[in-house]
C-alpha cells in the first residue's frame, strides 16, 4: 500500500470511530465482531501469507490475551494489562516460534493446533489444582464503544506496520522464504529468525485482540478463551479474502462475519456444519482469495 492509500484507509477508520454515537446496540456489536476478525485475519495473513505456514495458533494467543485480562483486569490499570498481555503473547510466540518453525508443512499446522489445546489444558489444570476455581468474572470498566475504538486503533496500527513491512528487508526476506526457503538460506537470510520475528509480531496483535475483547464476557473460563473455532474462522476469512495484499483478508472478513451473524441467529444448532461447508466452498471456489480474483479480473485474464 502506498502512503496515500494508507492515509485514506486510516482516515476511513477514524470516520468509522463515530459509529457508537449513532447506535450502541446491534450495529455496534456487529462492527465489533467485524473489527475483531479484521485484526485477527490481517495479523494471521501477515505471517502465514508470505511464509505459507498455516497456523492454527490464533486461539492460543487470543486466549492468552483474554485470560490475562481475567486474571489481572482488576489488579492493574488497563494500559498495563494490555502491555502485559502483549508481552506474554510475544514471549510465548518466540518460544513456540524457535521450537516449531523448523517444522514444515503439516507438522507445523498440527503443532499450532495442539498448542492452543495444550495451553487450555494447562490453564485448566492450574485453575483446578492451584487457584481451585474454574472460571473467572471479568470486572473491568470498559464500555462496548471503548472496545470498538481499541479494535479500530489496533487495526490502524497493524495496517501501518504492514505497509512498513512490505517495503522493509524483513518483509522481502519473508517473501523470498515463501517462494523458496532453500534459496532464501543461500542468499544469506537467517530464515528461522525472520519467520520467528513475523510470527511474534502477528501473535502480539492476536493477544491484544483477546485482551481487548475479554470485557465483552462477564465470565471467562479456559474453554471460552481458548475456543479453537476462532483459529478456524480466522483461517477461512483470510483464505477467502486472500493473503497477497494487506487489505485482502478484510475482503473475506466482512462477508463471512455477516454470514456467520445470520447463521448463528437462524440456525444456532447447525452452525458448525454450515461453517464447515463454507470452508470447503472457499477453498474450492476461490483458491487465490477474493483479492486474487479481483487482481486477475483487473489484468483481464479469465478468472
Amino acid at each position: 500500500m502506498s502512503n496515500t492509500a494508507l492515509a485514506i484507509v486510516l482516515a476511513g477508520l477514524a470516520a468509522m470511530a463515530a459509529l457508537p454515537f449513532l447506535d450502541t446496540g446491534f450495529w455496534l456489536a456487529l462492527a465489533i465482531s467485524i473489527a475483531q476478525y479484521a485484526v485477527l485475519a490481517t495479523a494471521w495473513a501477515m505471517f502465514s501469507g508470505p511464509t505459507r505456514y498455516v497456523s492454527l495458533a490464533t486461539a492460543a494467543f487470543f486466549g492468552i490475551g483474554a485470560y490475562t485480562v481475567a486474571v489481572l483486569g482488576e489488579v492493574l490499570p488497563w494500559p498495563v494489562v494490555l502491555l502485559v498481555a502483549g508481552v506474554i503473547g510475544a514471549v510465548l510466540s518466540l518460544l513456540v516460534g524457535f521450537a516449531t518453525l523448523r517444522l514444515s508443512g503439516v507438522y507445523f499446522v498440527v503443532f499450532t493446533f495442539g498448542l492452543a489445546e495444550l495451553i487450555r489444558q494447562l490453564v485448566t489444570w492450574f485453575e483446578v489444582n492451584v487457584t481451585r476455581s474454574m472460571g473467572r468474572y471479568v470486572f473491568v470498566e470498559i464500555t462496548q464503544a471503548q472496545i470498538y475504538w481499541q479494535l479500530l486503533a489496533l487495526f490502524g496500527a497493524l495496517l501501518a506496520l504492514g505497509t512498513w513491512l512490505a517495503r522493509s528487508r524483513l518483509g522481502f526476506a519473508l517473501h523470498v522464504i515463501g517462494e523458496d526457503e532453500t534459496v532464501a538460506r543461500h542468499v544469506g537470510i537467517d530464515t528461522a529468525r525472520a519467520k520467528v520475528a513475523l510470527f511474534a509480531l502477528s501473535s502480539v496483535f492476536m493477544a491484544l485482540v483477546g485482551a481487548v475483547m475479554a470485557p465483552r464476557w462477564t465470565y471467562l473460563d479456559p474453554a471460552i478463551a481458548f475456543n479453537p473455532s476462532i483459529s478456524f474462522t480466522v483461517l477461512i476469512m483470510a483464505l477467502l479474502g486472500g493473503t497477497r495484499s494487506l487489505l485482502g483478508p478484510l475482503l473475506g472478513v466482512v462477508p463471512l462475519a455477516l454470514l456467520f451473524e445470520v447463521l448463528t441467529a437462524r440456525f444456532p444448532n447447525h452452525f458448525s456444519i454450515l461453517v464447515g461447508i463454507v470452508f470447503l466452498l472457499v477453498v474450492y471456489a476461490v483458491p487465490q482469495g477474493v483479492s486474487g480474483l479481483l487482481a486477475r479480473l483487473r489484468r483481464g485474464a479469465p478468472a
Binding site: R185, H186, V187
Partner: protein, 250 residues
C-alpha cells in the same frame, strides 16, 4: 598458472576428509582438496559420485558427518547456509531454482539485500539491473521469473549468485541443458568471471567447458577423490576413464 597460484597463495577453500552418509550410503567419503584464489576448479565424476553432496557440504545446505571446511583459514565446518553465504560462498543449483513469483530484478535484489555487501532500495534495484545486463537479461527487469526459458533461468540464477559478491562461486552443472548458442555464451560468461579474478568451483559434465575454463580438476567416484590435475591430464587418466565408462572388474 595453476601451479604458480598454488605455490604463491594460501588456499581460499580447503576441504579435509569430508564425509557424509545418507543411511548406509556414503555419498562423500573422505574428500580432500583445495581451491586457490582466482582459480577455476572443475569437480568431475560420474552421476551419483557425490559432487552435489560435496557442494551442499561446502555451502552449508548439509552438515558433514566428519571432516573440515576451511574458508580463507577460518574453520567454517557445519555453519548454516546463511552464515556461509555472508562469509562469501555463493552457489547455483543443479535443478535450477529461481523465485517464480518475483520479477527478474527482485530475484537479483534477493541476492543483494542480505549478502556480504548488502544493498537495498534504489541502489539495489540499479545494481540488480546492471547484473541482469551482465548475464544477458538486460532490460527485462520487470518481467516475472516464471516466464523465463530454462537457459534464461540459469542466467538469472547466476546473476543472483553474483549479487552476493562471492569470494567463492559454486556452480552445479550450470551449463547442463543449454542449447549450443547458450552454451557458448555461458562459457564466455564464466571466462569473463575468471578474468575478473573470481574463484569458481564448478561441477560440470560438459568437457569442452572444463577444458576451456578449468585450471585444475578434482575427480570423484563413489564419494571418493580418485584423481586431480590439469584437465588434459586428468581426462586421459586411466582411473578416470574407468570411472566414467564403468569398472568391468566390479
Amino acid at each position: 598458472m595453476s601451479a604458480a597460484l598454488q605455490s604463491q597463495t594460501a588456499p581460499l577453500l580447503r576441504v579435509e576428509g569430508l564425509r557424509r552418509a545418507f543411511g548406509g550410503l556414503v555419498a562423500v567419503d573422505g574428500l580432500s582438496f583445495t581451491v586457490h584464489p582466482g582459480e577455476i576448479v572443475g569437480l568431475l565424476g560420474p552421476n551419483g559420485s557425490g559432487k552435489t553432496t560435496a557442494l551442499n557440504l561446502i555451502s552449508g545446505a548439509l552438515a558433514p558427518d566428519a571432516g573440515r571446511v576451511v574458508l580463507d583459514g577460518r574453520d567454517v565446518t557445519g555453519l548454516p547456509a546463511h552464515r556461509l553465504t555472508r562469509l562469501g560462498i555463493a552457489r547455483t543449483f543443479q535443478l535450477v531454482r529461481v523465485l517464480p513469483g518475483l520479477s527478474l530484478n527482485e530475484n537479483v535484489v534477493a541476492g543483494l539485500a542480505f549478502g556480504r555487501e548488502p544493498a537495498w532500495g534504489a541502489e539495489a534495484r540499479s545494481r540488480a539491473a546492471t547484473l541482469l545486463t551482465r548475464v544477458g537479461l538486460g532490460g527485462r527487469d520487470n518481467q516475472p521469473a516464471s516466464i523465463l526459458t530454462y537457459g534464461d533461468q540459469k542466467r538469472l540464477e547466476l546473476a543472483r549468485a553474483l549479487a552476493l559478491s562471492p569470494r567463492l562461486l559454486l556452480l552445479d552443472e550450470w551449463l547442463a541443458g543449454l542449447n549450443l548458442t547458450e552454451l557458448r555464451g555461458g562459457i564466455d560468461l564464466i571466462a569473463s568471471l575468471r578474468d575478473e579474478g573470481c574463484t569458481v568451483l564448478m561441477v560440470e559434465h560438459v568437457m569442452d567447458a572444463i577444458r576451456a575454463l578449468a585450471n585444475r580438476c578434482v575427480v570423484m567416484n563413489a564419494g571418493q577423490h580418485i584423481a586431480e590435475g590439469p584437465p588434459a591430464e586428468v581426462l586421459a587418466d586411466h582411473a578416470v576413464i574407468q570411472a566414467y565408462l564403468g569398472d568391468d572388474d566390479a
